[in-house]
Amino acid sequence: MTEKKSLKPVPVTQPWTEEFWKAAKQHKFLIQHCHDCDINIFYPRKFCPDCWGTNLGWIEASGRGKLHTYTVTHYGVEQRFAADLPFVLALVDMEEGIRVMTRIVNCKHENLKCDMPVELTWEDLDENFSLYFFQPAKA
């Protein structure tokens, strides 16, 4: 079997975000946590953006969140994304107090509403990367 190489852009990582993407490949969403000032951090940094501490670790997200806002994109994307059209881009507020940019999938566009509950799901991009997507929370 040949390796699947993504035609889409993969995340351009930094040394301190590699662990995040490694876990993402296992469909685990890790949130960076500062043990010194006890805050959750997104996106992962080299130093805690609050206290500049380096006593940083990871917690695993519950996967639950709220749809802060969204847009259904119909037109005006690069060719490499064209096959996905129309697709839903969104900002989701995760239960752990962080906000992420993501896509909403497995949904009827007309049923989307700001502040509705959503849950984590995954999209495999290639052999190295999976992207965190969200879908409407099951009741």
């Binding site: 889409k8 852009p9 993969v10 995340p11 351009v12 990582t13 930094q14 975000t17 997104f42 996106y43 802060h68 806002t69 969204y70 847009t71 259904v72 994109t73 119909h74 037109y75 005006g76 994307v77 690069e78 994304f81 996905d84 697709f87 881009l89 969104a90 900002l91 962080i98 906000r99 992420v100 940019m101 993501t102 896509r103 509403k113 700001c114 502040d115 991009l125 990367f129 992207l131």
Partner: protein, 390 residues
């Protein structure tokens, strides 16, 4: 930086458009010459040149960054040059640097200019440049994020929170077109109706194609000097009276403070520095790039209640002849010249206060408030300009 320490004394600008056959340096030569002549100066009086970095044009970037403008134009009194880059907020920084130069013995008069020729950029490079400029390559781009989508995300939330409608957003496009109809430098000048905006192609909900920018070619220039020298050189100097800024964040997930109390307090600081109030402003030259941003700014400033700015715009208050003339270059119909857009605003600020705005002239305009921002909203800068120092 201080009240009345910097003055704009000359302006030059070419119509925004699409000029695939025009040479970059044609645009630079013409606009710089026009600004220097408008200031009533000899070319050799210019002692410094500060240029907006043409981000998407590497050839021009290196030619200008390595000093070609004074040589090309024969500015024999020029002592130094610099190229500045802060995306859409670049011109503000050109003005700040010039303020330092003219008040600290580096140069008595400074030429500030920009040139953008989107039509001259290799199409493949252009697609990639605009797909990723201001979009984070790790946390945004892989999801298919675009500038339009970033703005659309803000619009969806704005509508949800305030009850504003698609018609409210479309009304801003119509209002801006009314100004553009009167502006010989605008690219799109035919009358535009609300219906036409609402029937245009859906790009990224709720944004339709008439609500999005059209990349264009353009060039402009200004001559500035110190507040002290300005009245000796010019009969119509335009003074920078106040300025304030907030950094709000590079990526959309991290950004805060653009609107609401924080945005308002930033604008208030600029007014306080000028010694003026919002009520003293004859014009609001609001640089927003997208129409819902315009509504949010009116509400942030406290001019309208949340969700009511669309109605205010529809009632014609921001249009030519309205009680609060706004964005008199009709930005959305002007054509987007990349980092040059805010230059177009500063040139218009000067033009209105010099009384040279032709059919768009706001009668007796004395003071105005303007704003600028860079990237997909990394900062918010407020400035007050005036015909005199109050």
């Amino acid at each position: 930086m201080g009240r009345g320490k910097l003055a704009i004394i000359g302006i030059g600008e070419m119509p925004t458009g699409w000029y695939p056959d025009m040479a970059d340096w044609d645009m630079i030569n013409n606009t710089c010459k026009e600004a220097i002549e408008d200031a009533g100066l000899d070319k050799n009086d210019i002692e410094g040149v500060i240029t907006v970095n043409p981000m998407a044009q590497p050839k021009l970037q290196s030619e200008i960054g390595f000093g070609k403008i004074p040589e090309e134009l024969g500015l024999k009194g020029c002592k130094d040059i610099c190229i500045v880059n802060a995306g859409g907020a670049t011109t503000t920084n050109c003005l700040r640097m010039a303020e330092h130069w003219v008040n600290n013995g580096i140069a008595k008069t400074v030429l500030i200019n920009h040139v953008t020729r989107h039509s001259g950029i290799d199409p493949e490079m252009a697609i990639n440049f605009f797909a990723t400029a201001g979009i984070d390559l790790q946390w945004e781009y892989p999801f298919g994020m675009t500038y339009n989508a970033v703005m659309a995300l803000g619009a969806t939330r704005y509508m949800y929170e305030t009850g504003a409608t698609e018609e409210d957003i479309a009304a801003v496009c119509v209002m801006m077109r009314q100004w553009a109809e009167l502006d010989p430098n605008a690219r799109f000048r035919k009358p535009l109706t609300l219906e036409k905006v609402l029937e245009s192609r859906m790009v990224s909900t709720p944004l339709r194609s008439y609500m999005c920018n059209v990349l264009s070619d353009g060039a402009a220039a200004m001559v500035v000097t110190s507040g002290e020298l300005a009245p000796q050189i010019s009969k119509t100097p335009v003074y920078k009276l106040g300025e304030s800024v907030r950094y709000t964040g590079a990526t959309a997930t991290q950004r805060k403070g653009r609107t609401g109390a924080e945005g308002r307090s930033a604008a208030q600081e600029a007014l306080d520095q000028a010694g003026l109030t919002l009520g003293d402003m004859d014009i609001l030259e609001l640089y927003v790039a997208y129409p819902m941003g315009f509504l949010r700014v009116l509400e942030t400033l406290g001019i309208c209640e949340p969700g009511k700015a669309g109605q205010f715009v529809r009632e014609g208050h921001c249009s030519p002849g309205g009680k609060l003339p706004c964005s008199t270059i009709g930005e959305l119909s002007r054509g987007h010249t990349g980092s040059g857009v805010s230059m177009a605003y500063y040139v218009e600020c000067a033009r209105q206060l010099m009384g040279k705005a032709g059919e768009r002239q706001v009668p007796n305009a004395k003071y105005l408030l303007t704003n600028a921002a860079g990237g997909s909203g990394m900062n918010m800068i407020w400035s007050v300009f005036g015909r005199d120092i109050p």
